[in-house]
């Protein structure tokens, strides 16, 4: 069994084969990697190593119930991600992980669930959505609000269509910019908050996206009566060692790799509004 808590040496990447590469948008790709009984929890991340180039932290975006294929959705933003996005089926990739604090899937049982994602932020939330749908009867209402830059930037569009077709999940989409071929919502993801039907006092909220978006979403939810103790966000920082030693990802007193990437909003709300943390 491979599990984050039982990694023999967390600095040594294990080598796996790329099973499939799927283009999600013009600059974003999902890599499926063949693994052997690899277990992780929704919200955790891996360090992906492109041989000879470098290593980057990437959230796991696949179904946690599948222990033989794990997926990572990667956007081309630099040399390492560029190399990872150029990998082909059968190529090798180094992986360390899984690392980090997951979404609190047990704590939120019996409550309504609200998921708010912006852009690539849907990737770390996808394993959570898979989990919620697999154990749907354990939760109250499930709602997903997703905002992307343009209709072409929407991730996992086929899956979103399947989720929308279910009678037990409400999915709302919006984009920041659109042409006349788009018949959906245009506006920021906060504009979708008033569509939410969840009971504010019995709802767990999971947010991932640009930091500025997470701040405004959390603020909007607090104004609506949601409890800050039930709001969780996934942070992104420059993780290097991934085990809380090197300090690259330090965020005030927190290490994003070890204490996060999933944080309770109560714990980081003050830090989010401090300049130069």
């Amino acid at each position: 069994m491979e599990y984050g808590g039982y990694i023999a040496n967390p600095y040594i990447p294990r080598i796996y084969k790329v099973k499939n590469v799927k283009r999600e948008t013009y600059n974003t790709f999902t890599l499926d990697v063949e693994v052997n009984d690899f277990r992780f929890l929704p919200g955790q991340f891996n360090m992906l190593y492109a041989f000879g180039i470098g290593e980057v932290p990437i959230s796991i975006s696949s179904d946690p119930a599948d222990t033989h294929i794990i997926s990572h959705t990667v956007r081309r933003v630099g040399y390492v991600t560029d190399a990872i996005c150029n990998l082909k089926r059968g190529d090798s990739i180094g992986i360390r992980g899984p690392f980090g604090n997951p979404w609190p899937i047990d704590e939120c049982k019996g409550n309504d669930i609200l998921i708010v994602a912006g852009g690539l932020g849907l990737a770390p939330l996808r394993p959570l959505i898979y989990h919620l749908l697999s154990y749907r009867s354990r939760y109250g209402s499930v709602e997903l609000l997703y905002g992307a830059k343009t209709p072409k930037d929407i991730l996992y569009s086929k899956e979103i269509a399947r989720w929308r077709a279910r009678f037990d999940v409400d999915v709302y989409l919006t984009v920041d910019k659109a042409d006349s071929n788009w018949f959906g919502n245009v506006g920021v993801v906060t504009s979708l908050l008033r569509k939410v039907h969840a009971d504010p006092s019995h709802t767990y909220v999971f947010i991932c996206g640009p930091e500025i978006m997470m701040r405004f979403v959390a603020k909007g939810l607090l104004d609506m009566g949601f409890r800050s103790s039930n709001i969780f966000i996934s942070m992104e920082r420059n993780m290097k060692c991934a085990i809380g030693l090197c300090g690259h990802c330090q965020f005030g007193p927190e290490f994003v790799c070890k204490d996060g990437p999933v944080f309770n909003y109560d714990r980081v709300a003050r830090l989010l509004s401090i300049r130069e943390v």
């Binding site: 006349s180 018949f183 919502n185 906060t190």
Partner: protein
């Protein structure tokens, strides 16, 4: 359902007194727009306040090289049209129904006159309009920041 009831149920007027609703309803009528129908055009006289009760409307800007660009969508329980509030009372964008859309149209000329005659009602209405304008301005600022980050 009477037009007063529809106005009273709309989010924009939900906490408004019966007296104010009755005064405003005199200048209101129900309107329906088919999919793709232009509701108003940039530069035309801003003569209405619309309370959307069903459907979805896009605010658009037409440009020579990019065609129609959708700036924002407005749907059920939203207010369409803020340009009637201040001179020169001209629409700043095109508004188009993205699907069959129903709304309450309130005549803006008479609404402005009502606000001038009944300053207390005018103040209450302007506070509501300012709230709409502030929320849209904040959304645009966030939209600009998000576009950079996402």
């Amino acid at each position: 359902m009477s037009i007063e009831d529809i106005i009273r149920r709309h989010r924009f007027f939900r906490d408004t007194s019966d007296e104010d609703v009755m005064s405003i309803a005199v200048y209101a009528n129900e309107v329906t727009f088919n999919k793709d129908e232009l509701i108003f055009r940039e530069g035309d006289k801003a003569d209405s306040l619309y309370l959307i009760t069903y459907g979805k409307v896009s605010l658009e800007l037409s440009t020579a090289h990019r065609g129609r660009v959708i700036i924002q969508t407005i749907d059920k329980d939203d207010v369409l049209g803020v340009s009637w509030v201040s001179p020169p009372y001209r629409w700043q964008f095109d508004a188009r129904a993205l699907m069959l859309t129903r709304a309450i149209r309130i005549d803006a000329y008479n609404l402005r006159r009502l606000c001038d005659e009944n300053n207390a009602l005018g103040y209450r209405l302007m506070k509501k309009m300012i709230d709409v304008v502030i929320k849209r301005m904040q959304a645009v600022r966030l939209q600009l920041l998000e576009i950079e980050e996402m």
